[in-house]
Symmetry: C2
């Protein structure tokens, strides 16, 4: 499984949303969405889950070596 930032980026695009549109709808700051998609690792989990929830997902434990 790809990392979460990539997941958000790909699904957001697939949904035809800009980062700004996505941030608005998810109730997140634009800067956070940018940072998340850019792979920032020190983001807060609640915000990450707020973003994932837009696609019916959430952060769960998964094998670390699944590419």
């Amino acid at each position: 499984m790809k990392n979460i930032g990539t997941f958000i980026k790909e699904n957001r695009k697939a949904a035809g949303l800009t980062q700004e549109e996505f941030a608005m709808r998810a109730g997140l700051g634009l800067r956070f969405v940018r940072d998340l998609e850019q792979g920032k690792e020190t983001v807060r989990m609640d915000k990450v889950n707020q973003a994932l929830a837009m696609f019916g997902m959430k952060a769960v434990p998964g094998k670390a070596d699944d590419e």
Copy 2:
């Protein structure tokens, strides 16, 4: 899949480690481990991944409705 805090708590116990021992080995603060296992949602993802890495896991997107 259970939430991450529960996953850590169960696997830590299965490994026969106290929160303190686990925190030490994972290079995390005891307070963080407590908060995580208690279900605190505003924790930082890098620390969460640091904890999950102890079991060869990391945070990945998963279906939100999997209980």
